[in-house]
């Protein structure tokens, strides 16, 4: 996306290509809206399918969130699960009605100040994101004195601390039992809007000085500092923004899944998110979305492996968990042999898509040509 920022009034001044791209973008957004509409009204998929689409969108959002801090700013964080947990819990606790809370906290009554607090879902969700960002700020101040592996272990540590706190704060979080009957407010419109907003935000961000500073920090911290970029300020900013997105994703996920408990937010969740961005390719929005969708869809589509299947005469019996083995093998192959991820480290753009057949033709020709000279 090398083209200059486009303002609506300047359509007349655009090149032919820019005008074409703008048209294509508008059409695809309209198509997306139509897709969401059909989906939400049950024309395309059943409830199970809609749930999968929701999860795809949510995981893509978390993927973008992790990519902001890791792929763009170069700070290796393993704390996504902790931030999702804060978002999910805050949103849920604020969105649940006092009556439901009363029935849920039967072991130990809920703290009084939280019992009657009840907000509309949107407000609860946004507040969830804001509080997650605030937590990230507090964590970030000490943690960003560290770099590299030490940073990743420290973020992992904080994520575990958050989870263990949630297990033990019985009268705030209902402990290990978790919370259920979370209102199923979230539908494809919510998750879709959240993801589109996040993508637009990221695209704008990386044309701003902040975005460029983030990339500078990733590429060379010392050089970035030398040209006057405040490392702490920018790292914190990226971290808090990333946490805000993860918190929103957590809140959305709570509503889609319906029940949450601390075990959901184990370290393995952070690892899942990390593998999503690796699968798609670190440092690209396209990669995060591709990774998130493939992760969720493959996990569901490979379910047949768990139920037993037959290849010709060979019958494979039902083995629980086989799909996850297959899936992790796939991931290892990507990690070892496709280090740029499935998106190849490039961002999606119309120019690339339209130029694709031509590039394929060219590389085939080059291959053929090389064959000639060798003979």
């Amino acid at each position: 996306m090398t083209d200059k920022t486009i303002y609506p009034g300047l359509i007349g001044q655009m090149s032919k290509k820019q005008r074409r791209n703008l048209a294509l973008t508008s059409i695809s957004i309209l198509l997306l809206v139509a897709f969401f509409y059909l989906l939400q009204n049950g024309f395309l998929l059943d409830n199970y399918g809609i749930r999968i689409v929701n999860l795809c969108l949510i995981y893509s959002l978390v993927g973008i969130s992790l990519n902001l801090i890791q792929g763009y700013t170069g700070q290796f964080s393993l704390g996504s699960a902790g931030f999702m947990a804060i978002g999910a819990y805050v949103t849920t606790l604020l969105a649940l009605s006092p009556e439901v809370k009363d029935t849920l906290f039967y072991l130990d009554p809920i703290v009084p100040w939280l019992a009657d607090l009840h907000l509309p879902f949107l407000a609860a969700l946004v507040l969830g994101g804001v509080l997650t960002a605030a937590a990230a700020f507090l964590i970030g101040i000490p943690v960003f004195r560290l770099k590299g592996d030490y940073l990743s272990v420290a973020t992992l540590g904080f994520s575990e601390i958050i989870r263990i706190l949630f297990v033990n704060l019985q009268n705030v979080t209902n402990g290990a039992t978790g919370l259920k009957n979370i209102p199923a407010t979230v539908n494809v419109w919510w998750t879709g809007t959240a993801l589109i907003l996040a993508v637009l935000f990221m695209v704008r961000l990386f044309r701003s000085s902040y975005g460029r500073s983030f990339k500078a920090i990733r590429n060379d911290e010392f050089a970035a500092e030398a040209i006057g970029i405040s490392l702490m300020r920018h790292k914190l900013l990226a971290f808090c923004t990333s946490a805000f997105m993860a918190g929103i994703a957590g809140g959305l996920m709570a509503s889609v899944v319906g029940t949450i408990n601390p075990a959901l937010f184990r370290q393995s969740l952070s690892n899942d998110i990390l593998l999503i961005i690796v699968l798609g390719g670190t440092g690209t929005i396209t990669g995060s979305i591709l990774g998130g969708c493939i992760f969720i869809i493959a996990r569901e589509a490979l379910r047949f492996l768990d139920n037993g299947f037959a290849i010709g005469p060979v019958t494979v019996p039902a083995i629980a968990g086989l799909r996850m083995v297959f899936f992790s093998l796939l991931l290892m192959i990507v990690v070892l042999f496709f280090q740029k991820g499935l998106a190849g480290g490039k961002e999606f753009s119309w120019d690339r898509l339209i130029g694709f057949p031509g590039r394929v033709r060219k590389s085939i020709q080059r291959l053929l040509h090389r064959g000639d000279t060798n003979e």
Binding site: D149, N271, A320, G321
Partner: protein, 297 residues
Amino acid sequence: MATLFQQFTNALALGCLYGLVAVGYSMVYGILHLINFANSSVFMFSMYFAFYSVSVFYLPWYFGLIAMLALTILLGVCIERIAYQPLRSAPRISLTISAIGVAYLLENFATVVFTAVPKSFPDIPFLQEVIVLGNGEWRIQRLVIFVVISMVVLIAALLFFLEHTKMGVATRAVSKDFETSQLMGININAVIRVTFIIGSGLTAFGAFMWGLKYPQISPTVGAMPGTKCFIAAVVGGIGNIKGAVLGGIILGLVEVMLVYFFPGLSGYRDIFAFIILILILLFKPTGLFGAKVTDKA
């Protein structure tokens, strides 16, 4: 007084156990600059190896221990060969991600092969017997003595290896400067393999003793001890063998003694290690006994 003594010996045993596994993490980090996340899965597999050799194939426990050691070392070396060696020239982050991927794969693989239903670690009456001292108030499990003695012996052997053998010197050289030692004709891959043999062997020992203390085996059993042992290595100063052992002992003591003195904190037991980690990283990032490192990245 007697319970304090008992808690103290428990803490010491746990600490020695952390220390042993921490040494493996510390050495691997010292050489490859890799947090070997896969090691927690190796730990878990190791416990299953013990389960199968003793409970399923009815080997006597000492043969079981040997089988477990051999299989764990084989696993560790295979992981290094398949998942880490191809990434020697790749960015460091790829290596870490590969380690996480291996951990993920092994965990899922274990769920398929061993099922998610917890199994129980074999009983070894010889080690679990309780020795009664004095007027019957002072009681020690034989295991505690076994843990402490084997820790001292193993670490002494390791230090001897590192100080007085050619391979050991090569190992230290590689952890000081990867590129230069390569130029000096040291076979990097051999050194790394030896490091993984030592690391996996110590992990197997740790897993064996962990299994006797906490006999439940499941595919996720390695995560907590694995992370804590890495923390122990950081606390002691990464790359430093004695530091890793001391870090482990400190961690074990803090964990057990804090819960003993403040029973209300028992739910937060697993947090202590992380709090210690963060405090250490903030105030003495090189660890308690670590050498001064110029770049922590």
